[in-house]
């Protein structure tokens, strides 16, 4: 089987992809202006004729998550409000955002939009090496969140056999993977590690499960975490990025060097953090602004994701010509100043996953005491370690934190099972400082 899901679009020259995406953008612009109350209002004063060149796209204002919330609260038709781009009777499925940063956004999908989303996700899975001979186990709750519903339908579409792993606890899922000899997984990185930890507690080496490949979703996947999952299961691990509002829009190929934008499904802009007006250069950090170009049930134009990534080169060893994100740095909201030092929680995850296999779970809490910002690193270690050994791990983690972040922290070794476990988005970073 060939390397590409759609060789035609995946290998088009840059200028052709740009031309196609520009044309799709204009179509979406017109569609949104005529069919979505949000964009009827938002795009007043800008006409299609004003968008003559690719650069003119920048005349169109960004869409922010907060706006999506506002246009839904107490606005008819319930529950989608002014975001709906189709007749409400065409809505065939409901999804919602996780609500991590506030009131959830309710997302309408028509049969068409859902199939468009699935087609895009087929690229994600195919790029990650999922093939018809894979029996894919999906260990998630099959609920209102979009996570993994796309993986389910896309895996079916590319010809995999899908095992829905809902309504089971983690132990039940380990048993089901063994019983059915599942050989591929999709899950949050955190939960994939939890499954492995559960297997170990059952006396099972995760490598013996026979998992050949896995794809992460819902959380950042620093390289150290990716390597840890690969080492734990003896599998290949891949990453992708997306959100409920935008769909999954970029994914990792076999080279495992950054994420390819799924073009021409999505228009990517990577803009400088200060002015959000200039496209950054390869190797620089930029804010990801994304437009899903073919989704009509819920048109979203120039969505400012607040995610920061390093722009990658277009060329890749896999032969794809799509734009690339080399590394996801984190969310704009998560990158903050602590005691005057720029701090990203991802740095902590990196060194814990890379250098501390004894730490099975952790949490970072930043709080202000008097005028001082303090960081508390709470860790849980392998329960087989002695108290003294656990304290040593804590001491080393504190030292490493200072080296890697330039910030000292207190470390507290918690008893096993104290810290929360997550099967969707993990919330390991808690900034309690309010409006710092």
């Amino acid at each position: 089987m060939n390397e590409f899901w759609n060789k035609y679009t995946e290998t088009l020259p840059r200028e052709k992809l740009d031309a196609i995406e520009f044309s799709y953008f204009k179509t979406l612009f017109s569609y949104g202006k005529s069919n979505s109350n949000l964009y009827k209002e938002k795009l007043k004063g800008i006409e299609l004729e004003d968008i003559k060149t690719f650069d003119d796209i920048k005349k169109v204002p960004f869409t922010y998550k907060e706006e999506l919330r506002k246009w839904q609260e107490n606005v008819e038709p319930f529950p989608y409000g002014g975001l709906l781009g189709i007749d409400i009777q065409e809505v065939s499925s409901f999804r919602q955002t996780s609500g991590t940063t506030g009131r959830p956004v309710y997302v309408p999908e028509s049969y068409e939009s859902w199939q468009w989303r699935i087609e895009s996700w087929c690229h994600i899975l195919w790029m990650a090496g999922f093939r018809p001979w894979h029996r894919v186990f999906l260990p998630f709750g099959y609920n209102v969140y979009v996570a993994f519903w796309e993986a389910h339908y896309a895996a079916e579409k590319i010809g995999c056999e899908v095992v829905p792993g809902g309504a089971l606890d983690t132990k039940g899922r380990v048993n089901k993977i063994i019983e059915l000899k599942a050989n591929a997984l999709a899950g949050t990185p955190t939960y994939l590690l939890n499954i492995a930890q559960e297997a170990v507690s059952m006396g099972i080496d995760p490598k013996s499960l026979g998992i050949e490949r896995a794809i992460g979703a819902g959380e950042p996947l620093p390289e150290a975490t990716l390597k840890r999952i690969e080492k734990t299961y003896g599998c290949k691990m891949y990453d992708h990025i997306g959100s409920t509002e935008t769909c999954g829009f970029a994914s990792m190929c076999k080279e495992q060097k950054g994420l390819h934008i799924i073009e021409p499904f999505f228009l990517l802009e990577m803009l400088d953090r200060e002015t959000l007006s200039k496209e950054v250069e390869v190797g620089e950090q930029g804010v990801i602004v994304i437009t899903p170009l073919g989704r009509r049930s819920f048109p979203v134009i120039r969505f400012n994701t607040n995610d920061v990534a390093i722009k990658g080169p277009d060329a890749c060893g896999c032969g794809r010509t799509s734009k690339k994100l080399m590394e996801i740095v984190g969310r704009v909201d998560d990158i903050s100043k602590i005691r005057g030092v720029l701090f990203s929680p991802k740095t902590v995850e990196q060194f814990i996953r890379a250098d501390f296999p004894e730490i099975v779970e952790y949490e970072l809490v930043v709080a202000r005491e008097d005028i001082m910002d303090n960081i508390l690193l709470r860790i849980e270690v392998d329960p087989s370690l002695s108290k003294e050994a656990a304290e040593q791990v804590g001491k080393r983690a504190g030292e490493e934190h200072k080296i890697k972040t330039n910030l000292s922290c207190k470390v507290k070794v918690e008893p096993p099972g104290t810290l929360p476990r997550y099967d969707l988005k993990a919330k390991r970073y808690k900034d309690m400082r309010g409006g710092h």
């Binding site: 799709y24 049969y111 068409e112 021409p264 073919g294």
Partner: protein, 50 residues
């Protein structure tokens, strides 16, 4: 790709015709609509690059 695009157009015409012939037959109408959904996807993934 041109040949593929032509075939897609032909299927679209047939599906539209099927839909109009369906009358009050919900099953035929819905299945014709589903074909049109995939026509939308097929058109989207085979854009002319000229």
């Amino acid at each position: 790709m041109d040949e593929i695009r032509n075939e897609i157009m032909k299927i679209e015409e047939s599906a539209e015709k099927l839909k109009s012939l369906a009358g009050d037959n919900n099953a035929i109408k819905k299945n014709a609509s589903i074909i049109l959904t995939f026509i939308y996807i097929l058109k989207f993934i085979t854009p002319a690059a000229d």
